[in-house]
Amino acid sequence: MSSCRLLENKVALITGVNRGIGQTIMELFAQNGANIWACYRTLDIDFEAKLKSLATNNKVSIKSLHFDLANEQQIKDSLRPLLKNRDRIDILVNNAGVAHGSFFQMTSIQQIRDIFNINFFSQLLITQLVTKLMKKQQSGSVINLASIAGIDPEEGFIAYGSSKAALIYATKTLAMELGPDNIRVNAIAPGLTDTSMARQMEVKAKERMINQSSMKRLATPDEIAKVTLFLASDNAQFINGQVIRVDGGM
């Protein structure tokens, strides 16, 4: 256990905690003393045991919530009890999302809508609900996991890249709207990261992206999680409306 826990007694709500970057963020936050609302889609008994063990080992509380990001009603139903009980939430990490790659003429408008629904609209809905609590507290930190695909155009990323670009714009706008309530909103734009998402990519596209990075490798989930921890912590208390690239230099 770390001797200097950056998130001691803070409460974080993190989406997409059952794998990849989200799981690593949750583990790092727990190691740093955060109590956690762990959000993932479908109840998994084995994963719940892992959450219990993580909580015990780090002397924090971890409670899970289950909803499908494509289902607005499920999101509302899951988060409403927190609002009703006036639960404290200091940190929101909008991590969950879906990857998608295909050329424009091979992408239906419905597919683009579906990607936006998960990568953009659901993040806004969760943020809208959670920041109601943060406004009452007059404090909070929202961290959106965007992507360099939302900044640098890339062939084949019309749906995914556009959804992340929208999330980046929302990050900057919400930082302005919520700043007066002492709520910071920032985004992280990871380069290609070593997760199951990257392993699903076509080899050629993956190699091209790795070669674009000055450091010629994938990011690790831990490298993304560390920046998330920084933005969540009071060490970043005057950082607002920023998009931090974690891509090894491009």
Binding site: L83, K84, R86, Q128, K132, K135, K136
Partner: protein, 78 residues
Amino acid sequence: MDTIQKYKEVFINHLQVTEDQLSTLTYQSVSTWDSVGHMGLMANLEDAFDIMLDTDDIIDFSSYVKGKEILAKYDVKL
């Protein structure tokens, strides 16, 4: 203070209107009830009645009269 008086006073104090204006008061009918004023009004009502309004209700809250209907959903009897 009874509940209806509390409701009235939130409007009077936040929007700087008089009591006789309330029955016909609608969103954007006075300069103080613009979009910024609306968000402040909603926050003041939430504080006054210890409730948390849904976004859909914040959008639907178009008048003093309509607001009574909306608050009834949160068990605020006016």
